[in-house]
């Protein structure tokens, strides 16, 4: 029934047009100290139209699916594209790709809609009780959310892809206090799955481990600062993969000249033990999807192979600019947003060292575990991220906890300074990546040893 709008777009001068119609159903609970605070249930339908006219793009969206509204936003998209075409010096386009017709409905094993709200509440309560078993944990905020997104994608090239994806996530954020020292932490469990995610993972154990580590930190001294050897745990390796390397690999940033990896394909930039991938087909991965928001199938993509840059992430627009192919990396936060080049599940492949071997020979260093978030300047190739917990490494052994460790560096320098990787691979907690729009992502890797990493502590 939406074909008519694409046909109209073509008649009105669009060389290419696509349309995404979404139906989003969300359920959420918020708990404070184990008691329900808010319950939110909602439905939203919406539609976004992307058109290419005279070498320029226009995009318009509405959550009113009546005929007159769709007609209005189509005209708006066309007029924006025409106006852009008059102003724009560089002509844009869409990289040629096969058009897909498919219907992939990722049905969860346990549909959240069939789960009694009290069971959802119980998951968060379990996490709450697990962290409250430590007397230092003074208060908790918890939440549960499930989100089922149905999407129909159509294009003037004949693509017609219907998908349905469910993501389910629960978390507890807690504050721990001992004497004058106070700190906080979040433990999150989630996947591109239904309610079965909480039957696959021992949420109580995970929450307890988070609380135990946080309590240890309360007594920890501040970190030494300066250039030190740092061992990153799998979650922080994932954050480095995502923040420092992944963003710099995004084709739209590369094409815009905002990436330190611009023009570096084929160059050996990192240690040869480092292979970096982005993979939207990881079963249950928080960033996984069957088809992207331009109707291209999800796939695994190697970005850095044995230290050599072998590819970028592209949607069909950045692929046109870079004369490359789409990697199925077009993602939009919602129907109301134009798709951008985004990561999915990003990771460094495992190496061959045991954890003890990684620590061997380190006179003074830092073992950094988990992430409190990070940020990156892809043009300069600099990054900053903060560890959730950290430990001093002294003479090849873990000595004692440290608090508030931040790691700073230049991506390419750091990449060259990775001299050993652990042999066990783990995914970090599910996360959300912000690039003007938020999308769910996963990241992970092995333990990673980095020489000469800039470590900053707090004052």
């Amino acid at each position: 029934m939406y074909d008519q709008w694409l046909e109209r777009a073509r008649r009105r001068g669009a060389k290419y047009a696509d349309l995404r119609v979404q139906r989003l159903e969300t359920n959420g609970l918020e708990l404070r100290n184990g008691k329900i605070e808010r319950v939110v249930e909602g439905h939203e339908d919406g539609l976004g139209i992307h058109v290419l006219v005279d070498g320029a793009w226009g995009f318009a969206a509405t959550n009113d699916l009546r005929v007159e509204a769709i007609g209005r936003v189509l005209e708006r998209a066309l007029s924006l594209a025409r106006a852009t075409s008059k102003r724009s010096k560089q002509k844009s386009g869409v990289a040629p790709e096969k058009s897909y017709e498919a219907s992939v409905l990722w049905k969860p094993k346990v549909a959240p809609a069939n789960v009694d709200p009290s069971e959802k509440e119980a998951v968060v309560k379990t996490m709450h009780e697990a962290v409250r078993s430590y007397k230092e944990v003074k208060s908790t905020t918890g939440s549960y959310a499930d989100r089922t997104l149905g999407q129909e994608f159509l294009s003037t090239e004949g693509a017609h892809v219907t998908t349905s994806v469910t993501r389910t996530v629960a978390q507890v954020h807690f504050i721990a206090k001992a004497g004058p020292r106070i700190t906080s932490r979040r433990v999150r469990v989630g996947a591109t799955k239904g309610f079965e995610v909480f039957r696959d993972v021992d949420v109580a154990k995970k929450a307890r481990e988070g609380a135990a580590a946080t309590v240890r930190l309360l007594k920890a001294p501040a970190s030494p600062s300066g250039r030190l050897t740092v061992v990153l745990d799998p979650e922080l390796t994932g954050v480095f993969s995502h923040e420092a390397l992944g963003h710099a690999s995004e084709g739209d940033l590369v094409a815009a000249g905002e990436s330190c990896l611009k023009g570096r394909i084929g160059d050996k930039l990192g240690s040869e033990i480092v292979t970096l991938c982005d993979d939207s087909t990881v079963p249950g991965g928080f960033g996984s999807f069957p088809y992207d928001d331009q109707g291209m199938p999800g796939r695994r993509r190697v970005l850095l192979e044995k230290g050599v840059v072998v590819g970028h992430l592209n949607d069909r627009v950045s692929a046109f600019k870079l004369q490359m192919h789409s990697t199925g990396s077009a993602r939009a936060e919602s129907y109301a947003d134009r798709p951008l080049v985004r990561m999915t599940n990003t990771f460094i492949e495992a190496g061959d060292h045991s954890f003890d071997e990684l620590l061997e020979g380190i006179k003074e260093g830092v073992y950094a575990v988990g992430s409190r978030g990070g940020q990156v300047d892809t043009a300069k190739g600099s990054f900053q991220f903060n560890a959730q917990e950290s430990y001093l490494i002294k003479n090849g052994e873990i000595a004692h906890p440290l608090r508030d460790v931040s790691l700073t560096g230049f991506t390419l320098e750091t990449l060259a300074n990775i001299d050993a990787l652990g042999k066990e691979f783990h995914w970090g907690d599910p996360g959300y990546c912000g690039k003007g729009q938020y999308v769910p992502v996963g990241d992970g890797g092995p333990h990673t040893r980095v020489k000469e990493c800039v470590v900053g502590g707090s004052a």
Binding site: V40, E41, G42, K86, R87, Q375, A459
Partner: protein, 448 residues
């Protein structure tokens, strides 16, 4: 408004003891820039309804994007209320006359089309190249928005408001002797922005920050934060710590400190949504409570916390007109029940011209950006961030750029020591919005 009133009555007919409907219509567009050119333009228009009901003293919330589904939403809200905890003191606000807040709607902005936005982008792009030909606008754009909000409840409250916003930003890269970057932005509720000024400011900064010298060693230094990083730091650590819920629950640095000295006695923090043309100004909050200026911290003494009606009812406090519907990803949205937020913050402290502020520093830094502020610990006040566009200040003068460095400190302690302000007051949008000049903090630790 008609749909809101109908839904309020519908909810009561369906069994709610009281009800409230908030509707938000958003229309807006953006033009993105990259590689020294316009990259694309987008537009969206959305309308939706958030409905709150009270039944058996319990509050429930649901939302719908079309009026036809309001009945489903009422049913969902009634269902949700069964899971909620009893809040006997909760009630929706009654109708009180809101103040007149001027300059929030500009019909010239409401009538802007794609052509005009693209011409604004053109002015901005041209100004960057005028600074130096090899500068490249790598990101940024122009955005415009028209927001109409309506709130109605079964206490007889009915309010509507209409606001406009227009803004522009530029992220400029210079590749000459390495890479340097510059950034500038501006926002207004009126159609009065100087697009070329944004381009010039970003371009100048990229040129001035090239060839940075490494700081010789780590040490404690006076740091002048430009308005954006200062608002980011205070908005992450200080302001949320003043919200009633965490404070009353003992989860905030300010817990149990009402009436006590919490900052230097020359520092005051004011939440004021009545400033004419303010980016966070509004005649009433998202529950319909009239706006009024409020000193949260007066001369260093904590006066009160901020509350929406829900949190106020939970803790036996009064709502302070600080309800916002803030979605974690979407900004202001009908999809979120109200939560507490400051609306528009002003900081009052000893001030001078920004020039004299710089002149007062013997050895320090002028920071234009801070990366990673969101990782700061709001409870302890500790933060450790990176600044990559930063200049050395020596003997009262801004010298050359400094290579990216790590800045760490404690915001709560810094506010206790006091701060000084410049006069380059900038309107910064967001929740909360800010009217803030450059801020001089003493004693942050800097590591090269």
């Amino acid at each position: 408004m008609g749909a809101c009133e109908r839904a309020v009555r519908l909810a009561v007919r369906m069994g709610a003891e009281s009800s409230e409907v908030f509707a938000l219509r958003d229309q807006g567009g953006t033009v993105d820039m990259e590689k020294g050119d316009v990259a694309g333009a987008e537009w969206s228009e959305t309308l939706g309804f958030g409905i709150r009901i009270v039944k058996n003293k319990r509050v429930g919330f649901a939302y719908a994007s079309v009026e036809e589904r309001l009945k489903d939403a009422v049913e969902a809200a009634l269902r949700a209320s069964k899971l909620g905890k009893p809040l006997p003191k909760f009630e929706f606000p009654g109708p009180r006359r809101p103040p007149r807040v001027t300059g929030l709607y500009d019909p010239r902005i409401a009538s802007l089309g794609g052509e005009e936005l693209l011409s604004f982008a053109g002015e901005l792009l041209d100004a960057v190249v005028d600074v130096r030909e090899d500068l490249l606008v790598a990101g940024g754009g122009i955005h415009v928005g028209v927001t109409e909000a309506a709130v109605a409840n079964s206490q007889g409250l009915e309010r509507t408001s209409k606001e406009t916003g227009l803004g522009g930003s530029a992220y400029v890269v210079q590749r000459r002797d390495g890479v340097s970057t510059g950034f500038a932005n501006a926002e207004s509720t009126r159609s009065d922005l100087k697009w070329a000024r944004i381009g010039r400011e970003a371009g100048d900064l990229a040129v001035r920050s090239s060839n940075p010298q490494k700081l010789e060693k780590g040490k404690a230094m006076a740091c002048i934060l430009r308005p954006d990083p200062a608002a980011d730091l205070l908005g992450t650590v200080t302001i949320p710590s003043l919200y009633g819920k965490p404070a009353r629950r003992g989860e905030s640095y300010y817990s149990g400190k009402v009436g006590k000295r919490v900052m230097h006695d020359k520092v005051s923090i004011v939440d004021d949504a009545t400033i004419p043309r303010g980016l966070g100004s509004t005649p009433f909050d998202d529950e319909g409570v009239p706006s009024a200026p409020r000193k949260i911290v007066a001369a260093g003494t904590l006066k009160s916390y901020l509350f929406d009606h829900y949190d106020a009812a939970e803790h036996g406090d009064r709502a302070t007109g600080n309800a916002v519907r803030a979605h974690p990803f979407d900004g202001r949205s009908y999809k979120s029940p109200p939560t507490t937020s400051a609306l528009q913050i002003r900081v009052v402290a000893p001030h001078t011209t920004t020039e004299k502020l710089v002149a007062s520093v013997d050895d320090g830094l002028l920071l234009h950006d801070m990366m990673g502020v969101h990782t700061a610990n709001a409870v302890s006040g500790d933060f450790s961030v990176t600044s990559s566009v930063v200049f050395r200040v020596r003997k009262g003068a801004v010298e050359g750029p400094v290579a990216p460095l790590s800045v760490a400190g404690n915001v709560h302690k810094a506010l206790g020591k006091g701060l000084r302000l410049g006069d380059d007051v900038k309107a910064i949008g967001g929740s909360p919005a800010w009217n803030l000049p450059a801020v001089l903090f003493e004693g942050f630790t800097v590591t090269p």
